[in-house]
């Protein structure tokens, strides 16, 4: 049998020909994407998806995902691509409605890896109760060997009753997180070639729209939410402080960090506050809503370890300040770029 005409099932790696727009492209889409992602809006394979829309405002976001390795404990590039965009919509206060999925595949990617990642995309979308309604695939020549790059865009519907945004943050407001920080970034590092170490770390990658909806509909006056991805908790707090020209005091002893993550960060010379997360939000609420916000978070499985970690103050100059466990104080700044493990 001519190998180019062979069903994809007998080909174990993606080839450039899979991106040629011909029969192999059709097979790739039918057998490896639609088989797992199919739904009413995607099935016709038209050039765009038509979505019914209620009155009100639409929130639109996009993000591209690059991670080495593609699969890691607790997740893979597919899970973070769906969860990340769902979370970007959710922290804006929107209810996610639909996602697009763009895959840029390097030739040579094992087909079974692609299948696992698409299955993970499908499972995460189900978990988030959102559909992939349009998509695209390209195959590129082998370059870095990372294998797969993913872009997802998403639209969501902003209920007229929701008003979250940096402009609402005021002195005396209270800052919360929904659980243990730093797990994702440390997990990736623990499996990265040349740095790998044994641990039971798992990425926290998860769609948080359920948790956020619970918060927003639970009678809590939520002023601001942001997911603490790259740049970690420190990055989000620095954003709030800079944009509002307000200070934030946080208390080290109240910030949830698992003992494993604490030790891994210590070993690598990293500050857990600046390590990336994929399933954590920073949430600012009015002082008298702190308890109800905490309870609302803790009622959700992804918020069981939620904690109040600090408060906003009008102290000038605007700084993020950490009261350390040792009783000292220091300034928290966003990291500069790639976080590199230290040496001795």
């Amino acid at each position: 049998m001519n190998p180019v005409k062979a069903p994809l099932d007998t080909v174990d790696r993606i080839m450039l020909a899979h991106g040629g727009g011909g029969e192999l492209t059709g097979q790739l889409i039918q057998q490896h994407l639609l088989s797992q992602l199919n739904n009413e809006r995607l099935a016709p394979l038209t050039d765009g998806a038509v979505l019914p829309w209620r009155a009100g405002e639409l929130v639109f976001t996009t993000d591209s995902y690059v991670v080495t390795p593609l699969e890691f404990p607790g997740g893979d590039i597919g899970r973070i691509a769906v969860a990340g965009t769902v979370n970007d919509l959710s922290v804006m206060g929107a209810t996610p409605v639909a996602l697009s999925l763009g895959l840029i595949i390097e030739e040579g990617l094992p087909v079974d890896v692609l299948d696992r990642i698409v299955a993970s995309i499908a499972a995460t979308a189900r978990e988030a109760n959102v559909e992939i309604v349009t998509g695209d695939t390209k195959v590129i020549e082998r370059r870095s060997g990372d294998g797969l790059f993913v872009n997802t865009a998403g639209v969501g519907c902003l209920p007229p009753t929701v008003h979250v945004g940096l402009e609402h943050v005021e002195p005396c407001d209270v800052v919360l997180v929904n659980g243990c920080i730093a797990d994702h970034g440390l997990t990736i590092m623990s499996v990265r070639h040349g740095i790998e170490f044994d641990s039971d770390l798992r990425s926290d990658a998860a769609p948080l729209n359920g948790l956020i909806e619970q918060l927003l509909t639970g009678g809590v006056r939520v002023k601001f939410i942001r997911d603490a991805t790259r740049g970690g908790l420190a990055g989000v707090l620095a954003d709030i402080s800079e944009h509002r020209q307000l200070s934030i005091e946080i208390i080290e002893a109240q910030i949830p960090v698992s003992p494993t993550a604490r030790h891994a960060a210590e070993m690598l010379g990293l500050d857990p506050l600046t390590v990336a997360n994929e399933g954590k939000i920073v949430c600012v609420v009015a002082q008298d809503h702190a308890t109800s916000a905490l309870e609302a978070m803790r009622r959700h499985p992804l918020g069981r370890k939620a904690a109040v970690i600090g408060r906003v103050t009008d102290t000038q100059p605007p700084l993020v300040e950490l009261n350390t466990r040792a009783g000292g104080r220091r300034i928290v700044q966003r990291p500069y770029g790639e976080e590199l493990p230290r040496i001795c």
């Binding site: 500050d271 350390t324 009783g327 000292g328 300034i331 493990p341 001795c344």
Partner: protein
């Protein structure tokens, strides 16, 4: 604050009160520097106790000529470089390894010498050079890896030797005599290898107390309490508050490895100059693993920025903010001096945790926040 911390802080305050003059303690190691900043310890120390940083950040003391040599290896000899992450951004005369990688050179970040050797095994057609950076903590691992390369006949592996020794640098500082010091907080990790007795010459020859402590904030504060007790009593003692981990004689196996594979040599320290018998080179039997010899590299001179005070900073002679480049052209994003590069570098730690030290001191005392 937990009672343990409060007690240590109060003890420090009482001792400083009794001593009633400015006390200057040098924390030799970069990990102590970072831990002290990260845990906000400077903000809780008595006013007359000053912690100054020493020459114990391996990245900061690696001379520019070694960075240049690494860049030459990658750029001109098509050698794959394997390095600890902190070296990536250190500027040499021709740029940094990070910039070189962006231009297509093969530079890998590893967390151990063995990972570098593994790259050489995995890519037999490539030539892999490992940057051997660090003090007694990382040197034994480099030695063991060279032995492993020899045993397994891995000939496409070499080491650019930049390893240094801590105690000769401490002695050189004291012999220069231009930094007023009341004692040394000695590094836990290095001492695991060298043993506590390695600091005996510092105590005996120069009558400076040395206290070995771990890197947890409790350990640092406890070490400072012991140092201040020495200062108060006027007795230079060698003490070890990290006994659970550090013994008197060190790690025999690690020391034997180093002795077998390395010889000591006079070596240049960035911005300080040559310190006698303070560096490690491969012993003659292992010269074929020496990247400088294998690729006939010539180590040139350093051309540090004339205004850069890194050399002063790592000898405790200047604070980062005294450097005209600090935050004026030299930042962690675009470092000019090495102290701004490493996460253990004094300038980087200062920039990251203490840049607005005055603003921080002026903040009102915080109150507990509760849910």
């Amino acid at each position: 604050m937990t009672p343990g911390f409060r007690e240590l802080r109060d003890q420090l305050a009482r001792l400083c009160n009794k001593i009633s003059r400015q006390v200057q303690i040098m924390e030799v190691c970069g990990t102590h520097t970072t831990s002290a900043y990260r845990n906000g310890l400077h903000a809780m120390l008595p006013e007359n106790l000053r912690l100054v940083s020493g020459p114990g950040c391996p990245v900061c003391v690696t001379p520019q000529r070694h960075i240049d040599a690494a860049i030459e290896l990658a750029a001109e000899n098509d050698v794959m470089i394997a390095t600890y992450g902190d070296m990536m951004r250190v500027p040499g005369r021709l740029g940094s390894l990070e910039k070189l990688r962006a231009r297509g050179a093969r530079v890998h970040v590893v967390s151990s010498a063995r990972s570098a050797l593994q790259i050489a095994r995995d890519e037999p057609a490539a030539s892999v050079a490992f940057l051997g950076i660090g003090f007694e903590t990382t040197a034994p691992a480099t030695a063991a890896t060279v032995l492993e390369a020899e045993r397994d006949g891995i000939e496409n592996f070499s080491v650019l030797m930049c390893h240094k020794l801590v105690v000769p640098a401490m002695l050189a500082l004291l012999e220069a005599g231009d930094v007023p010091l009341d004692g040394f907080l000695c590094p836990g990790h290095v001492s695991v290898i060298t043993g506590a007795e390695a600091y005996r010459p510092v105590v005996q020859r120069h009558a400076k107390p040395c206290v070995i402590a771990g890197f947890e904030p409790q350990q640092i504060l406890l070490g400072l309490v012991h140092l201040l007790q020495c200062v108060q009593s006027g007795r230079a003692r060698l003490e070890n508050v990290y006994r659970a981990v550090v013994g008197d004689m060190g790690n025999r196996a690690a020391l034997d490895l180093m002795q077998r594979v390395f010889v000591t040599a006079d070596t240049p320290w960035r911005a300080i100059g040559v310190i006698p018998q303070s560096g490690l080179e491969l012993a003659p039997g292992y010269h074929r693993f020496d990247a400088v010899r294998r690729f006939s590299l010539t180590l040139g001179e350093d051309e540090d920025h004339p205004a850069c005070l890194c050399g002063q900073v790592i000898q405790g002679k200047a604070e980062p903010a005294e450097c005209p480049l600090f935050d004026h052209g030299c930042t962690p994003l675009s470092p000019i001096g090495p102290c701004m590069v490493s996460s253990e570098g004094t300038c980087a730690a200062w920039y990251k945790y203490n840049r607005s030290a005055k603003a921080l001191r002026d903040l009102p005392q915080s109150q507990e926040v509760s849910g």
